[in-house]
Symmetry: C3
Subunit: 343 residues, 3 copies
């Protein structure tokens, strides 16, 4: 347990403390589950009702909730971000021991910083460059010519094909596969001809990539992920996709090849984005939406229907199949005759 006094935390993160600066917190807790020695937070009005009865020693709150806090309060303009920073102090990532595990297989033509950590059963091919304090988790594979920036961590069992570059302070979770071939196929009389995928993958600084997410290498130029991009689990990014800085994508999303997504976008879970599109900066797409045209204006976009009782939904579906006719029938009732389908 790291442990920190409220006074230290207030000073370090520029927060206003209402309470005793000598109180020490050891770990984080939810408002409901908190016990003495823990720090909690209130960032969502929905949980306000748990504030009065919390057992935490201190709570990170915003100005508006500070008065209602029954224990010491660390008052922040952005309580969730302040909580996140404090939690990182109280629960530091275990530091990896520098050095190379004897079972790792490292090509003599790879460069591994002395401060980097390479775990058991890792394979690192020629011409790789592993930066300072980088961590390569057990069983990971790095193909020829990969570059891993300083302080970037690969969890166990990550695969990087040849020619993948990751910037500094990144985090790649287990099962992620970066740089596999894009789905490039030319139809020919006899069947499919594979289109060689000769580009790489270039990833900026401060990027997190979720478990079992896949990012394909470019067909010719690189697939490119900007700085501070956050990708959840089980995402599929096609070849030559470009994603702008600070964009966050939730789990199970698929982005088809050659699409460009702007910066500061937020893409909900299981969204499907077709290929060769342009998504503007600041676009928000809600879960399970199909994006099949470019979205050139910032805004919120949707297309999924929320669940209904199945029998009711079957009636809707049956009616949908006749929707076109219904428009014609209404037009007919209006005495205007049948018209073309509007675009």
């Amino acid at each position: 347990m790291a442990g920190a006094s409220l006074g230290e935390l207030a000073t370090r993160f520029g927060l206003t403390l209402r309470g005793d600066p000598e109180i020490v917190v050891q770990s984080v807790a939810t408002l409901q589950g908190a016990t003495a020695g823990t720090l909690s937070f209130l960032a969502n009005r929905k949980y306000q009702r748990h504030l009065a009865s919390t057992g935490a020693s201190a709570v990170v709150v915003d100005e508006a909730s500070a008065a209602a806090c029954p224990v010491a309060a660390l008052v922040a303009a952005n309580p969730y971000a302040a909580y996140a920073r404090i939690a990182a102090v109280l629960h530091p990532s275990p530091s990896a021991v520098p050095g190379i595990h004897p079972t790792a297989v490292i090509d003599p033509a790879a460069r591994v910083a002395a401060s980097a950590s390479v775990a058991a059963h890792v394979v690192i091919e020629a011409d790789c460059d592993i930066g300072d304090r980088a961590v390569i988790g057990a069983g990971s594979y790095l193909g020829q010519g990969c570059r891993i920036g300083a302080d970037t961590r690969l969890a166990p069992r990550v695969t990087l094909y040849a020619g993948v570059t990751i910037g500094a302070r990144g985090l790649v979770h287990s099962g992620a596969v970066l740089g596999a071939d894009g789905f490039g196929l030319a139809p020919d009389r006899a069947g499919w001809v594979k289109v060689p995928q000769v580009g790489g993958v270039t990833i900026g600084d401060d990027v997190e990539i979720g478990a079992n997410t896949t990012i394909d290498r470019g067909a010719i130029d690189d697939t490119t992920i900007g700085h501070d991009v956050k990708l959840d689990n089980q995402i599929q990014i096609g070849h030559n996709v470009r994603i702008g800085d600070h964009t966050a994508i939730a789990g199970c999303v698929g982005v088809s090849g050659s699409t460009t997504i702007g910066s500061r976008c937020m893409i909900g879970g299981a969204v499907g984005i077709a290929g060769h599109l342009e998504i503007a900066d600041g676009v928000v797409v809600t879960g399970l939406t199909l994006v099949s045209r470019s979205l050139t204006e910032p805004g919120v976009y949707s297309s999924a229907t929320p669940a209904m009782e199945a029998g009711d939904w079957r009636r809707v579906v049956a009616r949908l199949r006749h929707l076109d006719e219904l428009f014609d029938r209404v037009r007919s009732l209006e005495g205007k005759g049948r018209g073309p389908v509007p675009e």
Copy 2:
């Protein structure tokens, strides 16, 4: 081949035998593909037509179909379950040899039961506890403090981050990743602040987890999977999700963070469930449905539209964009004027 006589099987599983108890079956087969020495089953009326011509030596059937069975019949109230139990006798899982492969890397502070089997290239970190007769497949990784119950099997290449607990008699398939960080991000002026994910994952007894499925660790408290939960492949379970006993979830489903799913639910393939919801016990959701509100009553829920010929569907979509107007036009025809959109 194990092989068993019909008499033995009838006795062992409490079935009524119509036929010679001395007949021996060696393996299972489909009704159509069956040859002498095999046992088949009829559990779905759809396949009734294959019964008369089956080449099987015996068939597991229900009472209603027994008379129509041209060969020996093992009559069961639940033929599919009876078949499943017999198939496990005829096709036992190969038993793993107890012991630790010399290439495995095991921290001295981990405990591995003498009857457990640890395959090649496994890594087991400190403070893990591997139960009796547990099997850890080749290349799997277990982070610090994982606990694996008795008779639980991890297939090759499974990843458990630190602090994952799995109960007894579990089965985790290859590529599954349990305990990766939940997608916790606090937006701040400069970009995203990572919210440390300090909870773990707790999984009950008799749980099966499919290939390449991911279950994130909790943000503060644990993500929790009940007993006898069955998860298919490529499922994504977000942080702090709770899943009740006996629930089954088909492939490619995504469940967002902090949602609670009740017991004995059945979730169809590629369903998306939003975060912070409550799904009642006994809920059934059909494939590709979006669940964006809590479902507080048992029942069947849907929202996906079945495929249509593409031109017909484009006309429906074009009309959908004008659906709101159509309601107004009908209201206008009814002489009631325009009204608000119903909720």
Copy 3:
């Protein structure tokens, strides 16, 4: 760099050359990014505007575009396929060194061709057969009795359960899991009874399988993938699915158990196909469609709604919930009274 003269390429691939046969190209490039010594291609009218200003030394074009090509032109009936073949000459896959890495663990009862390459930390169980010039990538696992055809390559970290057969010239990407148990569960009073999955997986020649794709073993008979089938990343194929020759499936698709997909089908991204269906040869399904009935005729099928501005979409959804009533209201206006829902 391999490098080839235009004369050689024209001869080898039966193309018409307009330009100097002595020009040598070293690598491929996009029309926009091309510099001297590179070869580009024009296969999509959309990029025609980049032709005039290309810096490439040569471009693969069709007859119609040849006149507009400002540099040497290799004229092909199918420029994309011709480009693909030339790119494979200029960017050959690095050839793997034959032999078995000392860290690989290979059962004495496995057969590995002398010309095959087995990388570090591979595990190959008994009775496997690894064909001529096959490549088994680092950290891959092959269960008992797998057969790998000549010239087939497994990328690093592929898992094959016991009894998986792959034909010749295949390519399986990292994280793919072939042969995990199908989702076979018999409901019983006390909970789920696992149905043993005793079939295997049989895969034809010239098949490519994407990163983190999963193909389950059959319940009794094998799951079967035909020749020249192309599967993108993160696809889930259920037990006993059969896929016909030359079919291509885009990323994130799920195919439920016992469905048969014909040959030369094209399935778009994130499509969901229910179980026990028949999909005819030549069917095309667009992205995010739900296929819940058999498609017995070739054609194009769809069911996903493209994204709309979220507020507009919410109004559509609100109206959808009342669509059934609207049909009744229109019928009433038409003076025909209420009728049954059409099927």
